[in-house]
């Protein structure tokens, strides 16, 4: 897990690729929100929960990511909703890391009601074990994650405890194979 973390931290200091840079392009990012604002959000989380519980993966303009253990995710999520002001989940997805024997489930949270937070996306991620993938559901806090969690169960096999319907959603009724987004599921011919 630590090797993967260092890989993603290197990603935030990106080196230039050998593409041609035209000097007349304008900056794509807005100037009004600087990483100071994101840093203050993260500081609130770290002061509330401590460094061991909330690990900061990256802080970029507009995007931040933290990593929490699966059994603490409910209290961190309720703090994010009540005190920080994020009110809905834009997407919930899972990524399979067979090298670390873990699946990372990531919630991208954003806000409609708060003006300063409307361009921020806080990525709340957790890692569950690949063979025993269970974690508590967040639909009581962020209702908009309901169908996304069901799809993550179907595609990756992560069981959400407390979700009313951990069932097949998009796949056909007679699907009898392993969850398709796992890395050992190979597409035919490749």
């Amino acid at each position: 897990m630590s090797s993967d973390q260092s890989k993603t931290q290197n990603g935030s200091e990106q080196k230039k690729s050998s593409s041609d840079l035209t000097p007349t392009s304008i900056s794509k990012k807005t100037e009004s929100i600087t990483p100071q604002f994101e840093g203050s959000l993260i500081n609130q989380l770290v002061t509330r929960f401590g460094d061991k519980l909330v690990q900061v993966i990256y802080v970029r303009p507009g995007r931040t990511k933290i990593l929490v253990p699966p059994n603490e995710i409910v209290q961190v999520a309720s703090f994010i909703k009540d005190s920080l002001g994020f009110d809905h989940a834009e997407s919930v997805s899972g990524t399979d890391y067979p090298n670390d024997n873990q699946i990372e489930v990531i919630y991208h949270l954003s806000s409609y009601s708060d003006d300063k937070l409307s361009s921020q996306i806080l990525a709340l991620s957790t890692r569950v074990d690949r063979n025993e993938s269970r974690m508590p559901t967040l639909i009581n806090i962020f209702r908009s994650a309901e169908y996304h969690e069901r799809e993550t169960f179907e595609m990756l096999g992560v069981y959400f405890e407390g979700h009313p319907r951990n069932e097949r959603f998009l796949l056909p009724e007679d699907w009898a194979d392993i969850p398709p987004l796992r890395k050992e599921f190979r597409i035919k011919g490749r």
Partner: protein, 385 residues
């Protein structure tokens, strides 16, 4: 004594019969994939007389495994199959992908390329909204509402065909810019078309939106309050019709949108009429945006950053979103340093708006079902990916 016993027995038997009839009351309907009012989507509803008491969506009829297929192709090869989920709004769905890959690989797009990308995105927004309005006409049984938008849409498709070479599947946006420059005389054609279309929009307003039958069928139907809209996390025109002025082009401007001045169109009532009017107002605003883009575009320059054959970047992840016809379309891409992405996740507006469908249908009448369902701006092929 015996008389009373007989009366008791009769009454209890009568109550049993009424109870059995009550339990049989609910009728299950399957509004399935072969239905003039459902598209490629199925939802099961239970009706009690005329009112819907239960609704369960059943998507997946066009699930083609886009996210899995992305992991077997490199960044540029992913463009053709990623634009097929919303085939008639294909520029927006590849726009978001290109932005995310450019952030991962640290590619700078030339200014003229950014302007042309935004112009193609606005033209495609008109094309998508007109098709949506046309199908709304089929669902409500209003055949003029089908014929006029589809006919006007063909004029925009002509413009896009002159720009990109294809009618609907453009494959125009690639990481690094756009594929080719505008042809000669394109700007005049565009301005003429926009002037003609604004006159047509005034006619649409008269005939479609000030129509007493349309208003009766959609006003007060399927009301989504502001708090519910935030809680359910809906996006796009559904959100703006419930009183929340949120547009990704204003909240988080990408490319050149921080230089364009336009207003977010929103309404406060949250019923089907508002959800049908907000895309129409968006189309009007889009005409102004197109004029401004053509005005401010640099007259010459490169349109594409020169890349190596297999572009790749360092390991990392990126989340980018654009405002498509249905709402915020976000891509979450994880890369591990190879030319093929490790994981691509699409967060599409239709999938998020699907959560409002059982919420709104329960408690409403069966006859209001088409106007609620299609006003949620739901495109089944995109939700299934």
């Amino acid at each position: 004594m015996e008389n009373e016993q007989r009366i008791d027995e009769t009454i209890s038997r009568g109550l049993e019969i009424v109870k059995e009839a009550e339990e049989d009351r609910l009728m299950t309907l399957s509004v399935g994939p072969q239905h003039p009012g459902s598209g490629h989507f199925r939802f099961t509803i239970k009706v009690d007389g005329d009112y819907i008491v239960y609704c369960d969506p059943d998507p997946g009829y066009v699930h083609r495994g886009e996210e899995k297929m992305c992991e077997y192709r490199n960044f540029i090869q992913n463009i053709p199959h990623l634009e097929r989920p919303v085939i008639h709004d294909s520029t927006n769905i590849t726009y978001s992908y290109s932005l995310a890959v450019e952030e991962l690989a640290n590619i700078q797009v030339p200014l003229r390329g950014q302007y042309i990308r935004a112009l193609a995105s606005e033209l495609n927004r008109q094309v998508y909204t007109l098709y949506w309005l046309g199908i709304y006409g089929i669902f409500l049984g209003h055949s003029t509402m089908f014929m006029w938008p589809i006919g006007d849409r063909e004029l925009f498709i002509d413009l896009l065909e002159a720009l990109t070479g294809a009618r609907v599947t453009h494959a125009f946006n690639i990481p690094g810019g756009v594929r080719n420059d505008m042809p000669d005389g394109f700007e005049e054609r565009c301005l003429r078309q926009v002037a003609y279309f604004e006159k047509r929009l005034a006619e649409y307003e008269d005939i479609f939106y000030n129509n007493p039958l349309f208003r009766q069928r959609t006003e007060g139907v399927g009301i989504l309050t502001k708090d519910d809209a935030i809680k359910l996390g809906v996006t796009g025109s559904v959100l703006r019709a419930s009183g929340i002025p949120f547009d990704v082009r204003k909240a988080e401007p990408y490319d050149v949108y921080n230089e364009i001045d336009f207003k977010i169109q929103y309404m406060k009532t949250g019923d089907s009429y508002a959800r049908s009017t907000v895309p129409f107002l968006d189309m009007k605003e889009s005409c102004h945006i197109i004029r401004e883009l053509l005005d401010k575009m640099p007259k010459s320059g490169e349109v594409r950053a020169k890349l190596q054959p297999n572009p790749k970047g360092p390991a990392g992840e990126s989340y980018k979103r654009v405002e498509s016809g249905r709402g915020a379309l976000g891509y979450y891409i994880v890369s591990d340093g190879t030319p093929k992405p490790y994981r691509v996740k699409l967060s599409v507006g239709s999938f998020r708006n699907m959560l409002a469908l059982p919420f709104l249908l329960i408690g409403s009448k069966l006859a209001d079902m088409p106007s609620i369902y299609w006003s949620l701006n739901y495109w089944p092929v995109e939700a299934d990916r």
